[in-house]
Symmetry: C2
């Protein structure tokens, strides 16, 4: 089995095809794992994330676009301008499968283009096109124009990946978008693509994915599919989408509200999945080959927040731009989500940044910021008045952020830099520079460890303690009780999710699946007859260590911590009233290091040897 990588030098516009050998695949699979490994080898230490030395890896995995369920995704990897360490993000839609069908299993964007370009890859043929007239345009119009130009306007045929103005203007919270409403949102890789002056990539083709034993693969895929569709969480996702979590997490007192100063939002019901389904849902929609179809196709028919039929918003988006900014209006959130997608901004990072700005504004007015900083902030705001719950100010801020206008020149840098700039670093709730997602670890304590040790910064997709602390998968824990068994589960999830992101498969499978399914699928896809669950999880652990090594080599971002607010300010209300995340983090972290074979956040030489990562011993020597 071979993995065909398309290397594109943007400066010379030369392309070359590279075969990834089977040994490397068996050590890193594809997607996130392969990306991390290549990035660590190829991106020099200290490289400017927005300079020509950085590379952008757009990768599928051995299961992408196959008959196995939920394999319609792809993964992007590169050095993050937001965190300064390895960044990566995952997205659904149709781009991943169509990339494989176009003839390649992955693309590496190298160097930078002199002028804006877009690239088409159709049945193995790579072409560069002038994108100067697309520069500055939103994602939706860009997709439309590109499809008009290639003459493939049917939305199910081929796929466009692009950046919006946010990526072009090097916003550190810019997303890479595909299929209009799908985002590889986190860690600001949209800015990396923008720095390379690649506006878009169109993929289409007829390549048949090779499989070692097609018949047996199909049988194994059928078994997985059955497990997925029969699981109650899958069914709930079909019905309400991810937004089903709004009420659940709010009831646990862990829905971060008013920039993480509270854990309960009074208007949660009005921004819940149930409310969305009742009032604005047109239908649900799935990625390529999906059986769950969690995406919400919504519409706001009239009024100031009118939004055409379009995908979204997801739970994270609703939270970040709803509870966290105190906007309790679902119509406004649907519009905000639409605009963020069109401008190519990460909805989680943006919502956190908007909430941080609101807190800074409140502090500036109360005289709680240094005088010169407060003056500068108020001078820059112009017609944006970031009061809590002000949806119109947030809409204006989206536009300003995407085009870096006025205060938007600062919000485009993300919450951490914004808060630092205006004299209140602790007003930004982030880990390693990446803004946190929608679960308060003071109320769901497994998330304390999950966030602190996430290699890409504050993230719920490296390990998802909510799964057992709230949803009871694999079994139910008390979210407020400290329990060392959770540490094992977090570490296990981190390794397993690394596998999932490398295969590349949707994480929503993991409520219902188990590694056994993928061992079987890989046997028949790749011919790895002797593969075991242990080896698969070791691959995950290897990937997790490679990612950490990137940070260690950079000399930054390997310290595991939580924002001060979560450690020192107790929640003021709800079931977790009075709690901080301090005790949980301090109890869990040493245990976690033992399990990982790490000291102070760094892998030991022994750990690297055990994982077959001897080539990187120089980093920890």
């Amino acid at each position: 089995m071979e993995f065909k990588l398309l290397r594109i030098n943007l400066w010379t516009q030369k392309v070359r095809e590279e075969k990834i050998d089977e040994r490397t695949l068996r050590r890193f699979l594809g997607g996130r794992g392969l990306g991390a490994y290549l990035a660590l080898k190829e991106i020099p230490k200290g490289a400017d994330p927005l300079g020509p030395e950085n590379k952008l890896y757009i990768l599928t995995g051995p299961l992408t676009g196959t008959a196995a369920v939920e394999t319609g995704r792809y993964h992007v990897v590169g050095k993050s301008p937001l965190t300064g360490i390895l960044g990566d993000s995952n997205s659904g839609g149709q781009f991943g499968p169509w990339l494989r069908f176009s003839g390649y299993d992955g693309i590496v964007l190298e160097s930078v283009s002199e002028e804006p370009v877009w690239i088409s890859i159709i049945d193995g043929e790579v072409k560069f096109h002038d994108a100067r007239d697309l520069w500055g345009r939103g994602v939706i119009y860009t997709e439309k124009k590109i499809r008009d130009r290639v003459g493939i306007t049917k939305p199910d045929l081929g796929s466009v990946l692009s950046i919006g103005p946010a990526g072009e203007n090097l916003s550190k919270i810019a997303a890479i978008m595909n299929d209009k409403y799908r985002a590889a949102g986190r860690t600001g890789l949209g800015a990396v693509m923008g720095s390379k002056r690649v506006k878009a990539i169109f993929v289409y083709g007829h390549r048949r994915i090779e499989l070692y034993d097609r018949q047996k693969f199909l049988e194994a895929a059928k078994k997985l599919s059955k497990a997925i569709v029969e699981h109650s969480i899958s069914q709930s996702l079909t019905k309400y989408g991810t937004a089903v979590l709004v009420n659940i997490i709010n009831e646990h007192g862990g829905l971060p509200t008013k920039n993480w100063t509270r854990g309960v939002f009074e208007k949660a019901q009005q921004i819940s999945g149930e409310y969305l389904a009742e009032h604005y849902l047109k239908t649900n929609k799935g990625c390529w080959g999906c059986a769950i179809r969690c995406s919400r196709v919504a519409e706001v028919k009239s009024g100031p927040y009118r939004t055409p039929v379009s995908e979204g918003p997801e739970y994270e988006t609703i939270w970040a731009n709803g509870a966290n900014t105190m906007i309790g209006n679902m119509e406004a959130i649907i519009k905000i989500n639409y605009l963020l997608n069109d401008m190519g901004l990460d909805t989680i990072s943006f919502g956190n940044t908007a909430a941080t700005l609101m807190e800074l504004y409140e502090k500036a007015q109360k005289g709680e910021l240094p005088e010169d900083k407060a003056k500068k902030l108020l001078d820059l705001l112009e017609d944006v008045e970031p009061t809590w719950g002000n949806a119109d100010a947030v809409i204006r801020l989206i536009w300003k952020t995407a085009y870096r206008d006025g205060i938007g020149d600062y919000t485009a840098e993300g919450a951490a830099r914004l808060a630092e700039e205006f004299g209140c670093p602790d007003c930004a709730i982030h880990v390693r520079g990446l803004e946190l997602p929608a679960y308060d670890p003071r109320a769901i304590n497994s998330m304390a460890l999950s966030y602190a040790t996430s290699n890409r910064g504050g993230c719920h997709l490296r390990a998802y303690g909510v799964s057992f602390d709230v949803l009871g998968v694999p079994k139910k824990f008390d979210p407020l009780k400290i329990d060392l068994e959770k540490v094992k589960l977090i570490k296990w999830q981190q390794d397993y999710f690394a596998v999932i992101d490398s295969l590349v498969v949707c994480k929503f499978n993991t409520f219902a699946d188990a590694p056994e399914y993928y061992v079987e699928l890989l046997k028949y896809a790749m011919g790895w007859e002797d593969l075991t669950v242990e080896e698969l999880l070791t691959i995950g652990e290897r990937i997790y260590n490679v990612e950490r090594l990137f940070a260690v080599r950079e000399g930054r971002g390997y310290r595991d911590y939580l924002p001060k607010r979560l450690l020192e300010e107790p929640l003021p209300d709800g079931p977790a009233k009075g709690r901080t995340a301090k005790e949980a983090l301090e109890t869990y972290l040493p245990e976690y290091y033992k399990l990982r074979g790490w000291v102070d956040g760094k892998p030991t030489p022994e750990t690297l040897k055990r994982l077959g990562l001897g080539e990187f011993l120089y980093i920890v020597a």
Copy 2:
């Protein structure tokens, strides 16, 4: 007396100083007249308005920045991308005087810059600066950043002229902005500046304006000043600004409503100058050296249309974005005005274009557009629903127009091209491609001739029949009655206003002044002791003919006409119910040609000879 022109070649970044000889000045004065003359000599026939052959003339006149009242203005001239013929526009604020104080009486931007630049001119020293990081930013932030960089942050010292994203993105309705809220708005010269990749020009300095006899000049200036401040219209402008006209013109049934399908707007009172003064006015403000101070400093303190303390909106802006789009909400209009200024869009052209889009949308839904055009339009709208009166859609459209996103890629072309693109050319109300201003000639018939014969396209500033048809200056006429005396007045105004724009003086003087004042001022400013009123008006006539010659040479835009709607569709309500502008135009035009010495819109060779324009005989030969 000398006139110092700074010629800037943007490609080579070489500058040279050119003296304009006194003979030329006495034939064309400065500002608009000098610009038209130089443009006709220097811009080759058929030049692409957005190519390197076009030039942009930024000019003051012999009275700019002197002690004479209302001389704080400047004039820009170039080939218009909107009309394809000579374009020009005039703006107040402080830029004109500061340009003279910086050491030059005018700037000519030639060729195009390779990368975005901004230029500083301080006490005669010209410097080029990298503007790549300003590209894409709004006018307000641009001014702020430039002032920070030159270290002159006090708003009264020096002045910034700039373009917003609309100009950068070559919107054909882009304005050149200065002093944040001041616009040389008409004929799309912002796009010419954008095509030359000049983001901004900062001027500052200490040059003393030379005067032939300073003492006598000051005495003459005092007389003019007295006449101005004592006149009732000046006083009304001080109190209510230009918006005082909303109710007056509405009562005459000539306030174009719903894209010129009606002449009365029910909500006129809510968007009137009186309403503005009562609810949102902070103070009034004047340009450099102004005694009238007509500018409205307004604020919307809270709500969805919150707008910080800022200048505007003017009557034209209120009308175009209010009555014409059926938006009867002053707060929304204040916000719209603010955003249009920040994005650098001409408020008249934009409001007309938005109203045209609303009509197209209505027609598309009723099945009154060709099927393929209707489909294309509806496909492009996405989250913009341009229903009559929808302020939120208009706000979204501003953003899209400035950045040419989706439907904004088409509205950025102006009303005429938009209407043409979607199959209803007569849905755009324009003359020569320039959208009409706020007076319906079916209700105020002198404006029929005024619009039809305006050299730059549909305009109320070439001749202002409203002055006698409505305001009674120099005497009151019946606006509905056809009267050939009006033809003489229109022709006289055209010549006189050409003088006013070339001096460069504010047109609001013309309610109270008379040519005699300027003859006297010019005697003492320039030493033209033998100047007479007749010669001054002949200069105006000469300028008017030079402008027309530009169109004749281009082979387009010299036909004098009115939009079909105004000739064929009677007004449905108000005092002018049942009227069209057909009879007025057909009666006035032959008489006008006789007075001008024109045939079919073209000056005869005899006329050119009479005006001393023999060098251009080749154009009409």
